[in-house]
């Protein structure tokens, strides 16, 4: 049986027990109230009969008219009380019928008693017979009254017995009900311990085993109830996780192998490709220096073009290797003073080329928890970008700072350079993507791709906002990447 069914059954039994007790209480109350009414009526009857006996004695003693009138008065009251009495049980009804019959006989006898004249008692020859007749009437009257009084007390006693019996029944029903409730409570406790707590303890133990890395721990079959189903589900889930983990481990191994291959490839690229380029550049330079006079201007121009092309390809190779290193470098998170880092990088731009004027504005105390080398690479490229694209701007300004947005610190590098059209923003961080002609702004087109990878490696986000001719601002965050960037004015101006 399922735990829910057991709980429903136990609740139903409990409610039934409570219902029985409540019904018993209600029934007892009805019984006691009825018994109380019966006792009250019996008491009224007894009082009237006592009054009747009193006036009977008074009449027998004095034959007084007042006593006779009172006798009939009480007699009527008694008859009314008997008629109004409500005794529903057979035994009580029988007693009441007896009382009523004796009342009828008593009234008949009293009528006969009243009719006996004084002459009847004294005048011979029937005096003795009449005296016996009157004595018989009196005896019968007293017997009937006495029996009626005893019967009335019996009615009262029966009412008391009913009340007592009802209270005793209530006690027994209550005790039985409470015992039933106690048994259900014990059974429930036992069932909860067996069917809930013990399986949960086993599940807890199993979860601890899995948490400590024992992925081969078996959860077992479990019972037919909800916890049994949960045990099986958890077992299935652990099995799935076990399978996935194996898959991940295999993938990791494959990735590690690929990484090793990539390293070897990078080494090969950096050394094997660079050597022929150096030869091309070196021999071109030798030709220019040693045989320059034998070459015409056109020949020297070709050689200079060869040298420029080989040098540009060398820079391309360097940038590609840089991109690769950013991707593969091991993270070392530490406190980084971004303000100091930016100032240090900017210092290298101030003398190159001579006469170039840029106003650098750095907010102080820009600190973050990041990988210093990755941040250096990222800031180097961002500031390099800003320096480059403000090259044709008078009163160039480059700003580095941070703002709070939605309770989060957002860093930015802004310039008032040529900017770009936001329609091409999706191409901005792609490798070899360029939004300006190389003639206007030379470069490999890899710098922003490196920046994006450096920020992403650190769990951050980067986005840009710009307008053609009004400059560009690059925003980035670190350590979280939930919200999409929002529109914002260019902090550089």
């Amino acid at each position: 049986m399922r735990i829910g069914s057991k709980e429903s059954l136990a609740t139903a039994i409990l409610l039934a027990a409570v219902g029985v007790i409540a019904a018993a209480v209600w029934w007892t109350n009805v019984e006691v109230e009825d018994a109380r009414r019966q006792r009250r009526e019996a008491s009224e009857l007894a009082r009237a009969q006592t009054d009747l006996r009193l006036v009977t004695f008074e009449y027998v003693l004095n034959n007084h008219e007042r006593a006779r009138a009172q006798w009939y008065q009480v007699s009527r009251r008694l008859d009314e009380l008997i008629a109004a009495s409500r005794f529903s049980r057979v035994a009580e009804e029988e007693i009441l019928v007896g009382v009523r019959d004796r009342r009828t006989q008593g009234r008949q006898i009293f009528d006969e008693l009243v009719s006996v004249s004084a002459d009847d008692r004294t005048v011979a020859p029937r005096a003795e017979l009449n005296r016996r007749f009157e004595a018989q009437l009196l005896s019968r009257l007293f017997i009937l009254q006495q029996d009626n009084l005893a019967a009335t007390f019996r009615l009262s006693d029966l009412a008391t017995e009913r009340s007592t019996a009802a209270q005793r029944r209530l006690l027994v029903v209550s005790l039985l009900g409470l015992a039933l409730i106690a048994m259900i409570a014990v059974a429930m406790s036992w069932l909860i311990r067996r069917d809930v707590l013990a399986p949960i303890a086993r599940l807890q133990h199993a979860a601890q085993q899995v948490a400590t890395g024992n992925w081969s721990y078996e959860f077992g079959k479990g019972g037919t109830d909800e916890i049994g189903q949960l045990t099986r589900d958890l077992g299935s889930m652990t099995q799935s996780l076990r399978d996935s983990l194996g898959q991940v481990e295999r993938s990791n191994r494959e990735l590690a192998a690929l990484n090793t291959e990539l390293k070897a490839f990078s080494y090969s690229v950096s050394h094997d490709l660079r050597a022929p380029l150096r030869s091309m550049d070196g021999f071109s330079l030798a030709l220019l220096e040693d045989y320059g006079d034998k070459l015409g201007e056109e020949g020297k121009d070709f050689l200079r073009r060869i040298r420029a092309a080989s040098q540009r390809m060398g820079r391309l190779i360097d940038d590609l290797l840089g991109l690769s290193r950013v991707t593969r470098a091991e993270l070392r998170l530490q406190a980084v003073d971004l303000s100091a880092l930016a100032r240090e990088i900017a210092a290298s731009f101030r003398s190159d080329p001579p006469g170039r004027s840029v106003r650098w504005e750095f907010e102080d105390k820009l600190s973050m928890r990041a990988d210093r080398e990755l941040m250096r690479i990222a800031m180097q490229n961002l500031l390099d970008n800003a320096w480059k694209f403000t090259g044709k701007t008078r009163d160039a300004v480059v700003r580095v700072g941070a703002r709070m947005r939605d309770g989060r610190q957002v860093f930015f590098v802004a310039d008032n350079g040529v900017g770009f059209d936001m329609a091409y923003t999706d191409r901005l961080f792609g490798a070899f993507q360029r939004l300006h002609h190389a003639e206007d702004f030379p470069g490999t087109g890899i710098g922003l791709a490196i920046v994006q990878r450096a920020i992403h490696r650190q769990g951050g986000k980067i986005w840009a906002e710009a307008r053609p001719g009004e400059g560009a601002t690059f925003f980035f965050t670190l350590g979280e990447s939930e919200d999409e960037p929002r529109g914002q004015d260019n902090p550089a101006g």
Binding site: Q108, I109, R126, L129, R140, I143, L144, Q146, D147, A150
Partner: protein
């Protein structure tokens, strides 16, 4: 393995519930029932074969005496007077009879006591007369020969009926005979009427058929039937009398709860046809008590006995000491209404 464990747990649970039920049952039985009967005590009772003693017949037949720890020997008699005679002679420990028989025996000097009244009726006794002798009303009995068993309730009833109708007791001729002869003598015509109790009333009516005229007189006399013993015996065997009272209370309860079965049982024991007995049964009241009103009846009977010369001249005795109240007071005191 798991099934075994489950089965064992179910058994443990079932055993726990059974144990709880047994404990509750035991407590309930202690709470609701009386203790078991101890060793049997012996009693002999002279018991007439009349419906008036039905509670004793039922108690004997249903084994209530044994349940209460009594070994009762029943000494059968034809009527109450014979039963009291046997008891007075020491041939039985107890007897059962009407209060008329008791008063006569007590006034003869017997130190007797009534342990319990177990029957009363105002319609049991009757005068059955021959209509062809010109009897159609009680006053027509004057000058007639009436059969009675002298010294019994029958004779007292006739006296009370005559007084009730203002007929001098000497206006009729009493013929003494055993009740078993009434029907036959009436039929033969040697008697004009008889005064007797059930089932003799029924037998006489059946014998006379349409010629029978019956006079009841509920306003004249209410007969009772009592358990009677020697006073010294009653006091000396108080526990046995208590048990006896408990047994006839059980019989009363049985009769109240299952009247039809009680009627069949008594009819069978007394060898009376059930259908003939059914109308009789309705006018008989079986209730165990000792009432104050009974003292009035005892005194009335005593006055009659003095008038009839059944006792030496003197005053009406005090019957209060003759009522043995202790047993009924010990068992169900509310049934004792004797002023004390």
């Amino acid at each position: 393995m798991a099934d075994d464990m489950h089965r064992r747990r179910v058994w443990v649970l079932a055993a726990a519930f059974t144990a709880a039920a047994l404990v509750l049952g035991y407590l309930g039985s202690r709470f609701l029932s009386s203790p078991p009967a101890p060793n049997l005590e012996k009693l002999s009772i002279a018991l007439p074969s009349v419906p008036h003693a039905a509670l004793l017949h039922i108690a004997a037949a249903k084994g209530y005496f044994a349940e209460e720890g009594l070994e009762v020997t029943v000494v059968p008699t034809i009527h109450g007077k014979a039963a009291i005679d046997l008891m007075v002679q020491g041939k039985a420990d107890l007897g059962t009879a009407s209060e008329v028989v008791f008063v006569l025996a007590a006034m003869k000097g017997g130190a007797l006591g009534i342990a319990a009244n177990m029957f009363s009726s105002s319609n049991d006794l009757a005068v059955i007369a021959r209509r062809d002798r010109g009897i159609s009303a009680p006053r027509d009995l004057a000058g007639k020969k009436i059969g009675v068993s002298l010294g019994t309730a029958g004779e007292y009833f006739l006296w009370a009926l005559l007084i009730r109708h203002k007929l001098p007791p000497g206006s009729v001729t009493l013929v003494d005979m055993p009740p078993g002869q009434f029907a036959q003598e009436l039929t033969k015509g040697t008697l004009d009427a008889v005064a007797t109790w059930q089932p003799n009333v029924l037998n006489a009516q059946l014998a006379l058929d349409d010629n029978a005229v019956t006079f009841h007189e509920p306003l004249a006399y209410t007969e009772t039937f009592n358990v009677i013993g020697r006073s010294d015996f009653l006091k000396g065997h108080s526990k046995a009398i208590e048990k006896l009272v408990r047994a006839i209370l059980k019989a009363e309860q049985f009769n109240r709860a299952q009247p039809e079965e009680a009627l069949n049982l008594v009819a069978q024991l007394l060898k009376i046809d059930v259908e003939s007995m059914r109308p009789i049964w309705k006018v008989l009241s079986f209730r165990v008590d000792l009432a104050q009103s009974q003292l009035i009846t005892l005194e009335d009977v005593a006055r009659w006995a003095l008038a009839r010369g059944y006792a030496e001249k003197g005053s009406v005795p005090n019957f209060l000491p003759h009522l043995y109240l202790d047993a009924l007071l010990a068992v169900q005191p509310e049934r004792v209404t004797v002023v004390r």
